[in-house]
């Protein structure tokens, strides 16, 4: 019986032998094949390491990233050379005029509310001083924006009405200011005003390590604005939120933050 197992062991070992490092020593194997096999083993090892990541390590990494990722809420309007902002133009019934798609008619002589464009985005902490990295189209939403182009060409100037960031550690939005935008890349640096988050920043190395196949990655952010956040709620909660906040996106974000429901989407996988 013992002999039978020994023979079986020798058979398995001889079959496994070509897969081991150093097999270039074996007859019939050339250097190229060995190198290819070595790379294959490396990739398998990387995948195995990724699969062996303990769940609590992943949870820790996700929690850290979530705390450093901010939901950005902004509104802006345009003013003319004398500083007059655009207002909604109203019809005889006092209702704002819009086309069939809801695009409003606005003018500096309008008698409705100030016309704004609302938007939301993602930014993430890069240091312990409240600096956040985001896109230029977040810091300057009129940049390369088709609908803003005619107004800019006519001499109107964009002005922010609101620019705030929501963090997991707060139940309200904190004011942020734009520090720098890249002239070529869609990148910008912003900073919190009057408050510094205590969340640990994400590490942005000057020379990022090379990405490897099989490396685990996860993406944290608000790519679809509040839609994905609201979609995670029960249908009844969604309707209540819509009724309570209507078209006011900031009020919606605020209410979600107060209820600890303003959480980023997290998706992950292996490279």
């Amino acid at each position: 019986m013992r002999l039978k197992y020994s023979l079986l062991y020798i058979l398995v070992a001889s079959l496994m032998a070509p897969m081991l490092p150093g097999c270039s020593m074996l007859p019939g194997w050339n250097g190229k094949e060995t190198e290819a096999l070595r790379l294959q083993v490396q990739r398998l090892e990387a995948r195995l390491q990724a699969l062996e990541l303990k769940p609590d390590q992943v949870s820790e990494a996700v929690a850290k990233a979530r705390a450093a990722v901010a939901f950005v809420w902004g509104t802006y309007t345009f003013i003319d050379s004398t500083g007059r902002p655009l207002h909604h133009v109203l019809d005889e019934a006092g209702e704002p005029i819009s086309d069939a798609q809801g695009v409003p008619l606005v003018d500096v002589t309008g008698t409705g509310l100030v016309a704004v464009t609302r938007y939301s985005a993602t930014a993430f902490l890069v240091d312990g001083k409240g600096h956040l990295l985001t896109n230029r189209h977040v810091a300057e939403p009129w940049w390369e924006d088709e609908s803003s182009a005619p107004l800019l060409a006519a001499g109107f100037r964009p002005v922010f009405i609101q620019l705030r960031a929501f963090f997991q550690e707060r139940t309200d939005g904190v004011l942020i200011e734009v520090l720098r935008v890249d002239a070529e890349q869609d990148l910008a640096l912003v900073r919190t005003v009057g408050w510094v988050p205590s969340a640990q920043p994400l590490n942005v190395p000057d020379h990022p390590p090379e990405l490897r196949e099989g490396q685990p990655v996860f993406l944290v952010g608000y790519p679809t604005g509040l839609d994905a956040v609201v979609a995670r709620l029960e249908y009844k909660e969604q309707a209540e939120l819509e009724k309570a906040t209507g078209n006011n996106g900031y009020a919606k974000a605020l209410l979600l933050a107060q209820r600890q429901q303003l959480r980023p989407s997290i998706t992950g996988g292996f490279l």
Partner: protein
Amino acid sequence: MNAQQVVWSKERLQSRLRHAFLVAIILLVSIPGPASAQGWWWGSRINPGFDRKTVIHVAGTIAEMKIVDQGGPSTLRLQTSDEIFDVVLAPGWFLVELQADLKPGDKLSVEGSRVPDRKGNMYLIAARVTNARSGVTLALRDEVGRPLWVTRRPSRRINP
């Protein structure tokens, strides 16, 4: 400067005028200007416009439906005897609140305002929708076209 330079021939004058006219047309077309004399089409979307002067009544069959909970109103495509209408209803959550029972193939009569978007596509912004199958009328907008889901008024589902 002599008289020959100043006094242009009739042909030359006509040619210059033609050029000036062409330049003026090109400038008018190329320079971005207000969407109309009243202002600019710009800003975050609000509820679709409703023009009381263009209110019509149509009857037809639901060909398609698109129920949207957020980010825009739900819509349906209504096939009448001679035309297809893109009907703009209300947010999905409001339709749920009204217990709206609409299915493709249902025969509807719709009262609404016929309004174009900026590309010239025509839409019917529904104020009242009556389903012949159930006999229920959904009131979506008031008499001046204000959406009932934002006016904080009680929802209205009119049973037969």
